[in-house]
Amino acid sequence: MAVFKNGTVLAGGKFVKADIRTEHGKIAEIGNIGGDGIDLNGLTVLPGLIDMHVHLREPGFERKEDIESGSRAAVRGGFTQVCCMPNTKPAVDNKVVVSYIKTRAREVGLCKIHPVGAITEGQEGKNLSAVGGMKSAGIVALSEDGKSVVNTKLMANAMLYAWDFGLKCLCHCEDASLVDGGVVNEGCSSTLAGLKGSIRAAEDIIIAREICLSESLGVPVHICHVSTYSGVQLIREAKARGVQVTAETCPHYFTLTDEIIRSFDANTKVNPPLREERDRLAIIAGLKDGTIDCIVTDHAPHHEDDKRVEYDLAAFGISGLETSFALSYTALVKSGELTLPELVQKMSKAPAQILGLDGGELAVGAPADFTAVDLDAQWTVDPAQFVSKGKNTPFAGRKVFGKIKLTVVDGDIKYEEKTL
C-alpha cells in the first residue's frame, strides 16, 4: 500500500487536486486521504502512457536495444505499457519467441510489455505465422512491421484469420516497388540533397488497400505511423463511411519536415520519411478531428555505427520513448491544438481501446499505472542522457516542455527522476 499525495490528478476527464492510494497494484482510492505519502505537489498525474508501437530489438539486436534498456527508456518517458514489434532475430512468428519476450519482460519488471506477432513466418510474406499459438502466448496484435505484406490475398486472409482470435493487423504501409530504394520524401528537399525520394503514393496506395480490405471483409484494421496528408484524408473518408479503421502517427511527423534532411544527418532518416509542411499540418488536423486515434513513438533505437555512415546506408528510425510526451505536449498542447486530456487520451486510453488492453485511465479499481509530470519544466533534449541504448534522435538540442518525474506501474515506482 502506498499513497501519492497532492498531485493534480487527471481522472474522469477532469483535473482534481487529490491523493492516490494504491493497494495490490490497483488504485484503491482517489481523494483527500491525508497522512504520509509520496509528495507529488506541483506535478500533474496522468494515466500511464501506452505506446503501441516500439522496437525493443531483443532477441537478436541487443547492440541496439534490449528489453531492459528499452523498458528503462519507456518508464523514463512516462510509459507503463508498450507493444513491441516483431522484427527481431528470430522474428516474433511463433509462441516460443513470444514467451521469451514475456519472460524477459517479467524478469526486468519495469513496464508491461505486449509482444506483437509477425503476420507471416519470418516476415517473408509467404506463409501465415502461428497466429493462434502466439495469441495463447500473449500477443496483442499482428504486424509485418517495417514492410507491407506484398500479396494482397495473403493480407486479406491474415486480417480475417487474425480477427478470429480478436487480433487486429497493424499495417506498415509501403509499396516497396514504388519506394524503389528511396530514403527520403520526394520533393524539393530530396532534389536539393540529391537523395532518392519516395512519393506519398508509396504509402497511400497500401493505406487505401488495407482500408479496402477492411471494408470488404468487415474486419478492423489499424494503420501505422501515418505521415502523408493524403493518407490522413483516405482514413478520414473511410471512417466517415463506417470502415473499422484506426490510425496512429508519431511525434516526428507533426514536429518535423523534410527540410532538415539537407544536413545529411542520418538521425533524420526514418520510415516513412519526414514529409512536407502540408503533411505536418494535416497530421495535426487529423489528430484534432479524430481521424488519427493515437500517438506512438515507433521507437527505433540504433547503434551509432548504424547511423554514422552515408545517408543511403544508414538505418531508418528514431529513438523516441524518452521524448515522446514532451514533444507532443509542446507541439500540440502548448500550441493550443489539443487539450491535455485529449493528448493523454491519444497516448493512453486510445491505444488501450484499439488493442483491448487494460489501462489508460485513473479510477478506483484500475491498475495503479500512472506518471507524474512537471508540465512547466522546460528542458533540452540531450541524447547523451537517454537510458535507451539508441541515442539516435533528430531532436538533440530542442527545447521542450513537460518533464516526467515519476512513473508507477502496478503501484510500484519504476522511475523517479534523479534530482542532482
Binding site: E186, G187, T191, L192, A193, G194, F264, R308, V309, E310
Partner: protein
Amino acid sequence: MLKHKDLTGLYGLAAEEIDGILREGADMKRLLKEGGKSLPYLRDRSATILFYENSTRTRSSFELAAKYMGAKVVNISSSSSSVQKGETLVDTGKTLDAMKNDFIIMRHPMGGAPALLGKTVKAHVVNAGDGMNEHPTQALLDMLTMRERFGSLEGLTVAILGDIRHSRVAKSNLFGLKKMGADVRLFAPRTLMPAGLDKMGATVCSSREEAVEGADVVMGLRIQLERQQGGNFPSLGEYAKFYGINEEVMKYAKKGALVMHPGPVNRGVELTSGLIDGETSRIEDQVLSGVAVRMAVLALMVREEG
C-alpha cells in the same frame, strides 16, 4: 577566397567565392596553354583520389591538376559495391588523414558522402561527384568555359536538357549559375525531372524548343544507361527523337549559342554528331577548363591556409 575547408558543392558557396575560383581558373588555363605543367603551388602537398565510381575524365583531370602543381598523388579505386562492405567511409577517412593527406578528392555513389567525410577528416575534401547531389568542379569548369566566351555570366540564358533527375551536374550548374546571375532553363522527360527545381530558381520547361529559345548556351546531359531501368523512357531511339538536341532544335537558340556536354557523350542520343563536332561546340574546351578549375580549387584551398 574559399571560406570553407572542403568543397562539397556550390549550394553553400557565395558568389564571390565562385568568382574567385573562376578568376583563378582563368589564370590556370592561361598557364596551361603556355605549357605550365610544373607549377609550384602544391609542391609539399599530397592528395588521395578516392573514387567509388568509375570515371576516366574526372579522375585524370584531378590527377593532372594536382600533379601539374607538384603534389604527390595516390589513386584509390573502389567499386560502388565496396561502399556497402568492408570499412566504413568514416574509418577510411581517418586512415587517409593519418597518412597526412592534404586533400581527399572523392567520387561516391551516394549524396552527402563528402559532407560526412569532411566532418571526419582534417584534410580538404573535394567532391568529385556524390550521387545525385553535386559535382561542383564540373559546374565550375562549365562556368569558366561560358565566361571565357561571353565575358560574364550575368544575364546569360543556359538551357540544360537531359536526365535532370539523376544529374549532379545539372544541380551544381543551377546553383552556381543562379548565383552568378544567369538564367537556367531545364527540360527532361517528365520521368527524369525531379520535384522542386522551380523553387530553386530554375525555369522548368515543357518542350525542347521552349528551353532552347533564345539561349546563349545549350547543354546536353549524359543519359546514363545503367540508371534507365524501370521505364523512364522506352528506348534510346525514342529519347533521341523526342528529347535529344539536334540542328532543328538549335535553330531556336541564339545565333552562335554554345553547345556543351559534360561528357562522355552518347553520340546521336543527347546531341547529334554534327553539333558535337560543330563550330560552337565547347566540349573539348570544357576538358581543358576542367583541369584549370581543379587546379584553381586545390591551389586556393592551400592559399587560404595562410
